[in-house]
């Protein structure tokens, strides 16, 4: 059963563009609503309490109630705020998260634009949304959001390079940067072929979307509400949406690159994609419920001294494997790679711990 859509399905090019764009936006918006509901229910269950269940069956309408209420609240612009920047920042933060979805194949053929520079496009666009969050922190003329904004930039820069290098490992493995080709090459999902690359990419994505243990930007115990302290009404709705659409796009990226986006035995492609995406988000929620927050200098040290060398090492091993023994039998390459990456992680962690003790001893 292969569910696929032929490249020139509705005939007219523009019509295909509009239809797929509408499907993509509907997909992101509905999964954002589901993520909001899921977050509040799952975190409540982790904390042995119920979570919203009065708004509709099992609290399903809770996300709708939240959005209607936020949209109809008064929209306060602080007097000393930089008016234009204050108005533009949420848009700059939200739009790139939708643009990233254009490249991700939801189903065999259901892809807005099959760019052959897909990976480069994603790395570039994901930085722009972080700029939007930075501007929203600066524009509000609030000291807490200023500290939050500076932390956002520090985290973005330090986690950008490991993310791109982890993706470079994939590109070398399957020879092209276009996502549809990467997904085609994933008869065996890359999580098994390149586990070290998956770990690095997962940590980098967690830092990009500011989720625990890296939620320093909106650290509600230190910086009241981080960058969105001064926002209310519709602008805050956009920022609240950005927070969740980044989570949607982040988990979509992880499923696209490492879990074989829509490849699965019986079910149609898009169902497999959503199942894998929700599984990744569940893992993110599990982290949010249990892990404390890192300090900004600890997260940057992890990025520069931890992930960067590991991603370079991952690149080295993948290129070694593709050049010298390209057709190594699977039952050797997968366990071998897992063992090597585990050893490397342990060695590097011991080295970092010894170096940290000697530095502050």
């Amino acid at each position: 059963m292969d569910w696929s859509i032929s490249p020139d399905w509705p005939g007219n090019f523009w019509l295909r563009l509009i239809i797929i764009a509408v499907i993509l936006i509907a997909f992101v918006m509905s999964s954002v609503i589901m993520f909001i509901w899921m977050e509040r229910r799952v975190i409540a269950r982790i904390q042995s309490r119920l979570g919203p269940n009065r708004a509709g069956p099992f609290g399903l309408l809770q996300a709708f109630a939240d959005t209607i209420k936020i949209l109809t609240k008064e929209d306060i612009v602080p007097t000393l705020a930089d008016k234009v920047l204050f108005w533009a920042a949420p848009a700059i933060a939200f739009v790139p998260t939708l643009m990233i979805m254009a490249v991700i194949p939801l189903m065999n053929g259901l892809q807005l634009a099959d760019l052959n520079v897909g990976v480069l496009y994603i790395a570039a666009i994901s930085a722009v949304s972080a700029i939007g969050i930075f501007l929203s922190g600066i524009a509000g003329n609030n000291k807490y959001s200023l500290v939050g904004a500076i932390r956002e930039i520090a985290q973005l820069i330090s986690f950008e390079i490991p993310m791109v290098l982890a993706l470079a490992g994939l590109v070398i493995a399957c020879g092209s940067m276009s996502l549809s080709k990467i997904v085609e090459a994933q008869s065996i999902p890359f999580i098994l072929l390149q586990p070290l690359g998956f770990v690095i990419f997962m940590v980098a994505i967690l830092a990009e979307i500011n989720r625990t243990p890296f939620d320093l930007v909106e650290a509600d115990s230190e910086l009241t509400c981080g960058f969105n302290t001064e926002y209310s009404g519709m602008k805050f709705a956009l920022l609240y949406l950005t927070e969740y659409s980044e989570a949607v796009v982040g988990s979509a990226l992880i499923t696209a690159f490492f879990l074989g986006a829509w490849r699965g035995p019986i079910l149609p492609g898009i169902l497999w994609f959503t199942i894998k995406m929700f599984a990744v988000f569940m893992f993110i929620l599990w982290l949010r419920g249990t892990l404390p927050r890192l300090r900004i200098d600890q997260s940057m040290r992890l990025a520069w001294k931890g992930l960067l060398p590991l991603s370079m090492f991952n690149l080295f091993i993948v290129s070694l494997q593709t050049v010298f023994f390209p057709d190594l039998a699977l039952w050797i390459s997968i366990p071998a790679y897992i063992i090597i990456s585990v050893i490397i992680i342990i060695l590097w962690a011991m080295f970092m711990r010894k170096e940290r003790q000697s530095s502050n001893a």
């Binding site: 209420k69 969105n228 926002y231």
Partner: protein, 194 residues
């Protein structure tokens, strides 16, 4: 840091002047916003579906910002913890910033030194906002009403919608108070002033 010493002294004197001004200005309680009461009696309430939808949304997602002052704080935390879960009514998101919150829960004794902060917090909240005065100290100063530094009741500083008696009120009483506030929100209408 010398500049800090002068700066903090200057900040200190400006703040204490603000406290004295507020203390002089608020000798009489602010009338409660109960415009919706006589509306109901007059029975000419025109209820549109827009009102119903808006009131339902505002009722089910009341995000509290808490003026955590004294003992009632821990009964409010008890109410939002695992046993009496306030999150069931959609009130779980404890927004620390007043801009996004729409319910100010005044839990605990208000002193004159704290009054300007509560006034500023109320003014910063975005418009459809409600206030719950929780506990005897919030209603009338309670056991400390005779003290030289206690404001006899939050309604001197901010207009209060629902008063919850008790010292501290049990979480069930708090949930009943929130239920009365939700009934009140159901009856509001965009066309009428609050």
């Amino acid at each position: 840091m010398e500049i800090d010493r002068i700066l903090s002294a200057e900040i200190e004197s400006r703040e204490s002047a603000g406290i004295e001004a507020l203390r002089a200005a608020s000798q009489h309680p602010i009338p409660d916003p109960d415009g919706w009461l006589d509306e109901q009696i007059k029975r000419n309430m025109l209820f549109t579906t827009v009102d119903a939808a808006l009131n339902w949304a505002r009722k089910t997602s009341l995000w509290p910002v808490t003026a955590f002052t004294a003992c009632c704080t821990f009964e409010f935390i008890g109410a939002s913890s695992a046993r009496f879960d306030i999150a069931r009514f959609g009130m779980e998101v404890l927004r620390a910033s007043p801009r996004q919150a729409d319910l100010l829960v005044c839990a605990g004794t208000l002193t004159w030194k704290m009054a300007p902060q509560i006034k500023r917090l109320y003014d910063q909240m975005a418009e459809p906002k409600w206030v719950i005065a929780m506990g005897a100290c919030a209603i009338s100063g309670g056991i400390f009403c005779d003290s030289y530094s206690v404001v006899p009741g939050y309604n001197r500083i901010v207009p209060v919608d629902v008063y919850i008696p008790g010292c501290p009120p049990r979480p069930e009483t708090l949930l009943a108070g929130i239920e009365t506030l939700r009934h009140k929100i159901e009856k509001e209408s965009i066309s009428k002033p609050r």
